[in-house]
């Protein structure tokens, strides 16, 4: 019997599942170090306040308390760094106020850490933290970008006039203004992109450990990118050189962006472990996740589209206020600029685009990349605007999109906002999605629903994303303070099994399977003989981690390069063993063969020879079979596709149910279709969550109203439908695998499809725009408002 197909394209069941389904995963909070202490953070319950030095005397007397630290103890510690410097329109750098590890006399958002209590048990630390008496004096505060931008608004940082972090723009304003002046149609839409809280199911956690013998520090942390944390914390915050600091990100229970960033607690436990010479563990309670994990989205925008009389897009003009929160999180500044405004061409041939983005400080939790990061905001704006354009001009919404799609023969396609798309076929994804969703048969379903008293609507979005982040030189020229290549080390062991060390990190994506398939395919070894190792700076040469749907496109490409080197070396060894010319050696299915003969050696035999070099070209070749490769991508990758959503609205309650959802995505080559489908399903679920349920709510002063799962509506099983997911693939032209990325497409394409469907369902109620989330209360109010009340029933 032939062995089961396990290579590229096989829906292999996941290797990592064995430990997860049997309760043997090792998440950070599952780790306990000998002599471990527990940290509890006392946080601000005020949006903006000053406070005098904290008196820790009484709390120090409580049972089990070992130490209490405040900013005064951290005098030699740097602030948390921001990884991307944006420049203003006038070329000056953005405002970058210090983000202290512990608040220095002023708290700027609910959740801002003030003091850390370290005790023998978690409960003792918490008891003592609650006893700290902090004499706050409240200061005026501001929560929304619309308020923060007003003249005379309270200042979040005294050093930042007008609360403006930066005032940035991209595109040709004069050309856009000229195109608008001559346009047959001009469409304008004001819209917000609601603030979200990522809520990975595993709360953040961190354990600092210090080895008194060597002076080495180890940080165990819930991170998507341990090397980045080592670099940021080591170099900027604690002044620890890399060789004395190890960062381990073990099993991580979901990230969605929120675990990219360097957080204060990581620095606190590492520093305190050194200070106390004992391990220190901190685990977030969920309410801390709500007020200390970076939030996502939160844009307020005006978008304008100019069209000619036939519906061709002539120009796009966008003005956006983006909420940064109280401090700059690690990659926050790149999100509303290079991950947002550069995406505004979408899948369309719009010839000129101008976008200006003002990033505002507010007294709220810092905002950073959350699944999609900037691209969902761009897609929502564009796909709502196109929808409204169809409605305002009386054109069919599918036809209007079709008329403006970038043709399949136009690649590589240069947009007016910097990006050059390498490949895609937006007609194909649109056609396939409409077919799978039975767009043509919708009217009958609408009527059937109406007969049951339901309002049924259908909506679509044709979207594009840029991921596979990113070419280092390009992002460097745009202000990134890091490179964005990826690293792989491939170690073929003496008896032919393989360990692959990757700088990417898996926190649900199934890398241990997908990457193993890649290795199995290229080296011709069984899947069971391949282990993928990630998440430990002591094991992996280097790496930038997992975000921006980059792991396979960048990390996988590094692996391919490393395996190319393995094969090249293997060929030399094989040529020696079989007394052939190296150019005559072919490698296929795990065998090195002398071309045109039946002489061959397996990769296992070659590996054994490499490690036991008795008969070996030792003068020319080192022993061993292990190679490392760094891969710096040549471009972003550009997945795209079409999502179609069908909803039914209960007129009595305003509840929106998604009854059908079709996603057709071009993610490039698919390694494991089961995993790709799962990624898309999860992304769509988060997109539907954003569109219908989720909202990080603050009051006008900056008090977090949605601070628990009782107030923040997470999508549950009975809120969601089954998903119809398909792919329609064109290959990425610039990476060796042809892959594009699938982690974020679901969250990018879906929100406008849902809202377009909701607006369509309410077509008889005169609604042009509904801001997310389209909650039952909002929909009920629309149905029951004014002259349109109950119109369809009449």
């Amino acid at each position: 019997m032939a062995p089961p197909f396990e290579g590229i394209g096989a829906a292999v069941r996941r290797k990592e599942d064995q430990r997860f389904i049997s309760g043997r995963g090792t998440y950070t909070d599952d780790i306990n170090r000998p002599g471990q202490l527990y940290a509890f953070i006392r946080r601000s319950d005020r949006p903006h306040a000053k406070f005098p030095a904290v008196d820790t005397g009484a709390a120090m007397e409580l049972p089990g308390v070992v130490a209490i630290y405040t900013a005064a103890d951290l005098a030699n510690i740097g602030g948390l760094p921001c990884g991307w410097q944006i420049h203003n329109k006038d070329g000056s750098p953005m405002a970058e106020p210090k983000h202290p590890v512990l608040a220095e006399g002023v708290v700027r958002h609910v959740g801002d850490p003030i003091a850390v209590v370290i005790a023998e048990t978690r409960q003792q630390a918490k008891d003592a933290a609650e006893k700290l008496d902090i004499a706050f004096t409240d200061l005026p505060s501001v929560a929304t970008v619309s308020d923060a931008v007003k003249p005379g608004a309270p200042l979040v940082h005294d050093s930042v006039p007008g609360n403006v972090c930066y005032d940035w723009h991209i595109g040709d304003k004069a050309a856009v203004d000229a195109a608008f002046a001559g346009a047959a149609h001009r469409v304008r839409l004001d819209l917000t992109n609601n603030r979200l809280i990522p809520n990975a199911m595993e709360p953040r956690a961190a354990i600092g450990d210090y080895d008194r013998a060597t002076g080495d520090y180890t940080l165990y942390t819930t991170s998507q990118n341990p090397h980045v944390i080592r670099l940021l914390m080591g170099a900027f915050v604690l002044s620890l050189p890399e060789h004395k600091l190890r960062v381990v990100a073990p099993d991580v229970g979901g990230g969605f962006g929120s675990k990219i960033y360097h957080y204060a607690e990581e620095a606190i436990v590492t520093w305190a472990a050194g200070k106390l010479a004992r391990p220190v563990k901190w685990t977030a309670e969920r309410n801390e996740s709500f007020m200390s994990d970076a939030h996502g989205r939160d844009h307020v925008s005006t978008a304008e589209l100019a069209l000619d009389k036939d519906g061709k897009f002539l120009a796009l003009r966008v003005h956006t206020l983006a909420n940064m929160g109280a401090y700059l999180s690690t990659f926050s500044t790149a999100v509303p600029t290079y991950l947002y405004a550069t995406l505004l061409a979408g899948v369309y041939t719009t010839p000129v685009i101008y976008a200006e983005v003002k990033a505002m400080f507010t007294n709220t939790v810092p905002v950073d990349a959350y699944r999609g990061a900037g691209r969902p905001e761009a897609t929502f704006l564009l796909e709502r605007l196109v929808e409204v354009a169809a409605r305002d001009t009386g054109m069919d919404r599918v036809e209007l999109r079709r008329r403006n799609l970038i043709p399949r023969n136009a690649f590589p396609y240069q947009t007016p906002v910097a990006l050059q798309y390498d490949s895609g076929d937006y007609q194909a994804t649109l056609d396939t999605a409409l077919k799978h969703a039975d767009w043509a048969g919708f009217e009958a379903r609408r009527q059937a629903a109406a007969a049951k008293g339901k309002l049924r609507g259908i909506g679509l979005s044709t979207y594009l994303e840029a991921c596979g982040i990113a070419p280092s030189a390009v992002v460097g020229s745009l202000g990134a303070r890091a490179a964005l290549y990826e690293v792989a080390n491939v170690r073929v062991h003496p008896t032919g099994s393989v360990s692959v060390f990757t700088g990417t990190h898996s926190h649900g994506q199934g890398h241990e399977t997908t990457f193993a398939q890649l290795v199995s395919d290229q080296l011709g070894v069984p899947l069971a003989s391949v282990d993928v190792v990630h998440g430990d700076t002591a094991k992996i040469p280097f790496g930038m981690g997992t975000y921006g749907s980059r792991s396979l496109a960048v990390g996988g490409s590094a692996m391919v390069k490393a395996m190319d080197k393995i094969i090249a070396k293997g060929k030399k060894i094989a040529a020696h063993l079989m007394e052939a010319d190296v150019h005559d050696i072919e490698f296929k299915d795990g065998k090195f063969t002398v071309a045109g003969t039946d002489k061959s050696k397996t990769i296992g035999e070659i590996a054994l020879t490499a490690y036991v070099p008795h008969n070996y070209p030792i003068e020319e070749l080192e022993p061993g079979l292990e190679e490392t490769a760094f891969y710096d991508p040549k471009n972003f990758t550009f997945p795209g596709g079409c999502h179609v959503c069908e909803v039914e609205i209960d007129r009595d309650t305003g509840v929106v149910r998604v009854v059908n959802f079709t996603a057709v995505d071009d993610v490039g080559r698919v390694i494991n279709p089961m995993i790709v489908e799962g990624q898309v399903q999860g992304g769509v679920a988060q997109g539907i969550g954003q569109a219908l349920l989720e909202n990080a709510a603050y009051d006008a002063d900056g008090n977090l109203l949605s601070g628990s799962f009782m107030d923040y509506t997470m999508p549950r099983a009975d809120d969601l439908p089954n998903f119809h997911v398909a792919t329609e693939n064109t290959m990425c032209t610039h990476n060796p695998l042809g892959v594009k990325g699938c982690g974020e497409v679901g969250a990018i394409g879906s929100p406008p499809a849902v809202i377009n469907a909701v607006v369509d369902a309410l077509r008889d109620y005169g609604v042009r725009q509904i801001d997310m989330p389209a909650t039952a209360a909002k929909i009920w109010a629309i149905i029951n408002a004014g002259p349109h009340h109950r119109k369809p029933a009449e």
Binding site: I21, Q681, R716
Partner: protein
Amino acid sequence: MPQVSVTVNGKPQTVQVEGRTLLVELLREKLGLTGTHVGCDTSQCGACVVHVDGRAVKSCTMLALQADGAKVTTIEGLAAADGTLHPMQEMFREHHALQCGFCTPGMVMAAIDLVNTHPEGLTEEQIRHGLEGNLCRCTGYHNIVKAIAAAWPLMHGKSLPAAAE
């Protein structure tokens, strides 16, 4: 300090705990059974679901002392002694019903109780409703629902009756 006696995964245990110690803290911190997870403080997420005397319980809502005398099964105790997985575990893997794995132990324990308590059959709607107490942020639930429907016949030894609609 008070003392609690429980049988966990078939093994009798007697442990000293503070009065305020939760069952999940007893399991994770005193008994080292870290397969049971804590995902929230408000009994909303279900990552901590275990079986107490055969029924699904959120172990963050129960004091350890309340479990005195009870039989507790955690995710670590589901597989047979020879390592054969419970059908629900097997179906979660087969149907890719997990990604990061953090909600999975609670999800599996809740799902088993759901199937056990519905010998007459389970519709998709009932499954989705039955999972109301468990949050998953990764999968969108689609594959979890499929896995539970696929586990039902394996657990009841007969095919799942067609939905009576």
